[in-house]
């Protein structure tokens, strides 16, 4: 597990000592300055002690200042300045699609808001489940390229699903050219016909990929405000978009102006709703958004 190399020694020991079945299910590792250290696994917040035995909140390991500094040095590979832009947006991109969210005290400077002190780090462990998006990709291969909107609540597996979709589409006996607009360096794909732009706003990455890489599918995570124009433009060039949006239902997702604009623009033909335990439901967009 490559993400474990980011952990300072006491926490590496704590996580390594956890029962294997729990360790494999870890989705988040949280450090809070002078507060309890916790991991999230199987949807629960757990507090391993130095030996990895689960303990209570009161007896949890406390993160000291030098340990927090050590953690940040590890996350930034000893080069804080190189991650400054991403850190101002609240995260540090890591290898293999992992990401560390950060929180703390911010201050306004002439270059915008920056962190004066980082007091919380949430190391989000990326998962690669290659077959997760198989039902959708089989449908796309049978029915021909179509735009897809992927919906789930936060931490519901959208990124993992998109990663799987990109992997399955870009590989196999009839691979597609897949462009990935990966603003937060989360959609790492180990192989295949993928062209990926990271570290720049999604709308910019979409524009560049459409213009220069002529993808057949364009994949991007978490649609946000102001991103509809380049995505609609990409649609006009024949590129099919697979994108995700927060929401526990199609109705909730469509409250976002960007999602609504793209639906009205006919970008999505299919809607995928991710349920608990990796259950995938696929509907025609016309059916899911009939009320729109």
């Amino acid at each position: 597990m490559s993400w474990m190399r980011y952990l300072p020694t006491p926490y590496l020991q704590a996580v390594s000592g956890m029962p294997v079945h729990l360790r494999r299910q870890i989705t988040e590792v949280r450090f809070r300055l002078e507060k309890p250290f916790s991991v999230t696994a199987e949807g629960r917040n757990l507090f391993p002690d130095r030996e990895g035995r689960l303990t209570t909140l009161q007896n949890a390991l406390r993160v000291t200042r030098p340990q927090m500094e050590d953690l940040l040095a590890r996350l930034t590979e000893g080069s804080l300045y190189a991650f400054e832009d991403a850190m101002a947006k609240g995260y540090v991109p890591l290898e293999n699609g992992c990401r560390a969210g950060i929180a703390g005290e911010m201050t306004e400077t002439s270059h915008g808001a920056v962190f004066r002190e980082i007091t919380s780090v949430n190391l989000r462990v990326s998962r690669f489940l290659p077959e997760f998006a198989r039902p959708l990709v089989d449908l796309l291969r049978e029915g021909g390229p179509q735009g897809v909107l992927v919906i789930s609540p936060p931490a519901g597996g959208k990124t993992t699903f998109l990663r799987s979709a990109a992997h399955l589409l870009a590989n196999g006996s009839r691979p597609y050219r897949v462009g990935i607009a990966d603003e937060r360096s989360e959609l790492f794909i180990p192989a295949g016909l993928c062209d990926r732009i990271t570290g720049c706003p999604k709308w910019k990455a979409v524009e560049l990929l459409t213009r220069t890489m002529s993808p057949e599918y364009l994949i991007c995570d978490e649609l946000g405000a102001g991103e509809e124009a380049p995505l609609l433009a990409a649609q006009n060039t024949g590129v099919k978009l697979i994108a995700s949006a927060h929401g526990s239902s199609p109705k909730e997702a469509a409250k976002r102006p960007c999602v609504k604009a793209l639906l009205e623009g006919g970008v999505f033909s299919l809607v995928t709703v991710l349920q608990k335990n990796f259950r995938v439901e696929i509907f025609p967009a016309k059916e899911a958004f009939a009320w729109l």
Binding site: D70, E77, L80, Y81
Partner: protein, 162 residues
């Protein structure tokens, strides 16, 4: 026999003088090498905000390699650079005037935001260029004088012994 002893003493002092002069030349070469590295760091930071790990992995300099300075920095295993930099500096035969500037730079290497890091690098380069200039002024003459003084010292010792 006494003459032979005297001759040996003078030769020993002469050779020691040559060694001291060679040390002075090495110190200047080490300073030149460090300045080259800092200029490379500054350029790659300014243009691409590249991480130190990548820069140290790609940068090549025969002198910094042979003294083990760069190999030590490449051993970075996720911890901070200041400790590694301090240890790596000890491997180089740097002039004593340059050492405090390099130590000051190393104490916050990789810990600062972009603006502050590049400013500190520029300051260190400027200060080291000053040291380099003062050391290079008449460096050849200094080395010749060093050899001459040691030889003369040897001659005096030999005369006293005789």
């Amino acid at each position: 026999m006494a003459l032979m002893g005297g001759l040996l003493t003078v030769t020993a002092f002469f050779l020691w003088g040559v060694r001291v002069a060679a040390g002075q030349r090495e110190a200047l070469e080490a300073l030149d090498a460090m300045l080259s590295l800092l200029r490379e760091l500054s350029a790659r930071l300014s243009h691409r905000k590249e991480g130190l790990k990548g820069i140290f992995a790609a940068y090549r300099h025969p002198l910094l390699e042979s003294y083990g300075f760069l190999p030590l920095l490449r051993e970075h295993d996720g911890r901070e650079y200041p400790a590694l930099w301090e240890a790596a500096l000890e491997r180089l035969p740097l002039p004593s005037e340059a050492l405090p500037h390099l130590q000051a730079l190393g104490s916050s290497l990789g810990r600062l935001p972009f603006g502050a890091q590049t400013e500190q690098l520029s300051l260190c380069i400027t200060l080291l260029e000053g040291v380099q200039k003062s050391l290079k002024t008449g460096a050849f003459q200094k080395r010749k004088s060093t050899v001459a003084l040691w030889t003369l010292g040897g001659l005096l010792v030999a005369l006293l012994l005789l």
